[in-house]
Amino acid sequence: MIRVLVCADDTDRIDSDWGTGELVSLISDTMEERGWGKSHGVTRHQLLIHPDIPYTSHNSSMCFAADLNEADLDALTGYAAEFLARESASGSDPGLCIAVAERVKEPELLIAFGRKAKDTVVTKQEACSLAQQLGVHLSEHGGTGQGVIGALAGVGLRLSGNDGRMKGKLKLKSIDGIATVESILAQANIDLVKSLEGVLLANNELVRLGNTVKPVLQNGKYVLLVAPVDAGDSGGAWQTLTKQQLKGY
């Protein structure tokens, strides 16, 4: 098995009924249905908001990591490329990046590119040159192909293990909206439950589950961040973060 990172960007338009995350999830689902590999979930990565960047509304890219049968790499690449070309919105500028983690020649350069795209305007030429240098698949599938920038950046950020939040929200079993850390870890693709200050919660601690149960990536692990319960609320010492609190991840 090999570890691959698959990322797409700029596939939608303002009038689309879906976002890039939906298309990336569908690629991930198909990969599993066809027995090519096992997905480790789709994450969202925020890139720079700047007047010189032609993003649709929020400039984020969506990425998944997977353990893939080496023999199915070409099939996945071909499928993802064809799927994006077919399903992306008319007038969008889709880009696709697929990297085999252990084959990226200088992973630190890929991670640095991802971080740079959060702070600086980077060019398509810069993205394409770097992908070629590092041996990473980068392809455009319509329009200006500008989405290759976000796609490459998303792979870099996912590879860093310290950026992004999981797409969707987890539905966990609880009693009156409260679950132990042990129960949370047993039910979902979550590695750790931590406070915003970085304190690891013990298995027997109680967490109030809000509307959005969504882990973030920290040190390569899915971490469910929690905050102390609001004064006046009873039950549980901790609560999951709101969407607003998660915006920075």
């Binding site: 879906w18 995350g21 969202r44 509304s57």
Partner: protein
């Protein structure tokens, strides 16, 4: 309601280089409430896809598919039609 919308529009929506922006601060309750007033009066409001929602279960411009984040707030693809 109409008066509130006008009040909010005058206070928060500024035109910069020909584009209108909501310039409030999403961490300030009053500013957040202004986006609720605008969204509730808007005929084009449409909730964005889940991964781009900003607040839980609130009709606000921050959750709308047609807001476009900017460095200092957001613009509106429908040009803030209620103002």
């Amino acid at each position: 309601m109409k008066n509130k919308v006008i009040e909010v529009t005058v206070k928060y929506i500024k035109e910069i280089d020909g584009i209108k922006y909501f310039t409030g601060d999403s961490s300030v309750g009053e500013d957040l409430n202004a986006t609720v007033i605008l969204a509730e009066a808007c005929p084009f409001y449409r909730e964005d896809v889940d991964e781009e929602l900003f607040l839980d279960d609130v009709v606000t411009c921050y959750n709308c598919r047609f807001r476009r984040w900017a460095h200092f707030g957001f613009s509106c693809y429908k040009d803030f039609p209620v103002g």
